[in-house]
Amino acid sequence: MMAIAEVKPANAEADSGREPVLEVAGLTKRYGKLTAVDGISFAVPRGETFGLLGPNGAGKTTTLEMIEGLRSPDAGQITLLGKDAVKQRRAVQERIGVQLQSQTLWAELTVEETLKLFAALFRKPVPIQPLMERFSLNEKRRALVRGLSGGQKQRLSIATALVNDPDIIFLDEPTTGLDPSARQSFWDLIRELQADGKTVIVTTHYMEEAEVLCDRVAIMDRGQIMALDTPRQLVRGLSFDSTVECGFSGTVPPGTLEALPAVREVKSVDSAFILFTDDVAAALAGLMEIRDDAGQRVKSLHVRTATLEDVFISHTGRRLGD
């Protein structure tokens, strides 16, 4: 069984009493016939780390881009720090920090020049020197961005998002393409931001990342929010606590798996079946009795504690990675 990597600190439960710094209501974006974001609503209180979890194409990035002022919504309201994010775009942009999905730095500038350039765009920039020290970039200050390693570019990219000491930081798929150790040190950086009291909005399609980092997670699919709660509550809210993933060589008569004891739900994903159960022992005992059309027993078996991924599967019938 796989254990959840980390246990969230005590502030994991959303505190609805705190003032919301971001409120989204009925947000909608259409591209021709495709509705990329379909009337979603949520609110994020100050100091929270809020995750948008979903597969590629779920509408996470489009949602962020509308909040950041890169795209204009077709319908809905975005209130950021008490201001209308569409009508008072520039005033809002003074107070937010953004890291986009792709590496967006100039290869021909040095680390220091890059930070100075971004600082020049804001009314109240912070001093560059402490920023470089904090992100361990001081030794590389005169190095061209072109020659930096992936991890260094990642740190510089986040540093550029902090030059205006923003109230809210948006990170779009920040760890996609990073190796496990770089991902780990990125998570440490986010924890520092959390310790500073920053509000962080992060999109990801890594279930583990959402579980480790986020106070609350909105699970998105096809432009809609399927579920929104703390990671623990999302999992707890399921009618099961474990999943049994199994496969057979042949075919199993329909309804057989559903009829097993203690099995709440069966999803067929790819060529495997996922059984959601609140009693693993009972479900497994039943499963062992089942034969496929060739008289064969279950061929592959994987049992684990329910995770956010299962929340997604139970809502959509698909895996996050699909």
């Binding site: 520039r90 967006t104 021909e108 100075k116 350039l117």
Partner: protein, 359 residues
């Protein structure tokens, strides 16, 4: 936006341009190599030219003057009637027509006579060489008959007073070409930035598109100005090409030229989506401009092409630059070119600010 912030934006972009060596080096190298090749190796100035001498006098001194011209290697002397030769001149078949009027011999016997010269002004480079040659032959003739006193005076018609060599013509043309190449490149940069996503990154900051465009314009201008100074400096130090007009009007012309090419560069960058496409369009636009705009050679255009040539911004940049460098640089001669460039600037920047997209 604060002035300090704006200047930092300009500095950062100028730094990027400077480090992008291939970008600014290629245009300056083409200009400098052209100047050296045409200035030293291949000089089109001293090609032989056709001179018609209309001898209406027929006296002994008149014949010896004709003989003096015939003895010069680079002059192909023809003869004929005044009217037919003058119409040949108009058709561009003669470089010049020299008329020895009736009574020339008699007047010379009195001490002083004059001849009449008509020049083909359409060829800016050759007319300099032709006028110099004709004057030199007449001076030598005077030297022979009177020991240098101006016995025969030259009454020149329809000729510019400047003595323009090919290199004088080429230097402003190369300035114009360098201005064109580097500043059209802003379109390439814009599309590259859009493709790399750095424009998107700037789009989530409070930076306004107009401030971005303005700061790019300033940083490109700085790099472009350095190139202009190098080319004019090379022309002056190595080939003795001086600037006849005022530096103020030169500065205005260069500034308008830079702004025009930036406007066109933005226009290209605003409507195309890939750096490759932008590169192709820049080349497709630049080469015809170099030839039709007269960067290397003066263009004698068939009248059907005149509207096209007049519409080409490089034509006006070159004309204004030559007016300031080679001509006298009077405001009255410059304003038409300036106005044409102004129209391009307004058109280009209005369209590109409207079409501007962060992603």
């Amino acid at each position: 936006m604060r002035i300090r912030g704006f200047l930092q934006l300009v500095t950062a972009q100028a730094t990027m341009l400077r480090r992008n060596t291939g970008f600014w080096l290629s245009s300056i190298i083409v200009a400098v190599v052209s100047i050296l090749v045409f200035g030293w190796l291949f000089n089109p100035d001293t090609r032989p030219f056709d001179l018609a001498i209309v001898d209406e006098d027929g006296s002994e001194p008149a014949l010896s003057l004709v003989a003096a011209f015939e003895s010069v290697d680079n002059v192909d002397v023809t003869g004929g009637g005044r009217d037919s030769e003058l119409s040949s001149l108009e058709e561009g078949e003669r470089a010049a027509v020299l008329i020895i009027p009736e009574g020339f011999g008699a007047a010379l016997a009195e001490g002083e006579a004059s001849v009449l010269a008509f020049y083909d002004n359409s060829d800016l480079i050759r007319v300099g060489y032709v006028t110099t040659t004709v004057s030199a032959v007449i001076s030598a003739f005077n030297e022979d008959i009177s020991g240098g006193a101006p016995a025969v005076t030259l009454d020149a018609r329809s000729v510019s007073t400047e003595n323009t060599r090919y290199i004088d013509f080429l230097i402003p043309g190369m300035v114009g070409m360098a201005i064109m190449y580097i500043n059209l490149g802003v379109g390439f940069m814009l599309v590259t930035w859009r493709e790399q996503g750095v424009l998107r990154r700037l789009g989530v900051t409070p930076l306004r598109p107009s401030n971005l465009i303005l700061s790019q314009a300033v940083s490109f201008s700085v790099v472009s100005l350095v190139q202009v100074v190098i080319i004019l400096g090379l022309g002056n130090l190595v080939f003795d090409v001086s600037i006849n007009g005022s530096f103020a009007w030169l500065a205005v012309t260069v500034a308008l030229g830079i702004a025009t090419m930036l406007a066109i560069g933005y226009l290209i960058g605003s409507f195309l989506h890939t750096p490759t496409a932008v590169n192709a369009v820049i080349n497709a636009v630049a080469f015809p401009m170099i030839f039709l705009g007269g960067s290397y050679f003066p263009l004698e255009t068939p009248s059907a092409l005149t509207p096209l040539v007049e519409a080409i911004p490089l034509t006006h940049i070159n004309e204004a630059l030559r007016e300031v460098v080679n001509g006298s640089g009077e405001l009255g001669d410059l304003w038409v070119s300036w106005a044409a460039l102004g129209a391009w600037i307004v058109l280009g920047f209005t369209a590109s600010v409207r079409a501007f997209r962060w992603q």
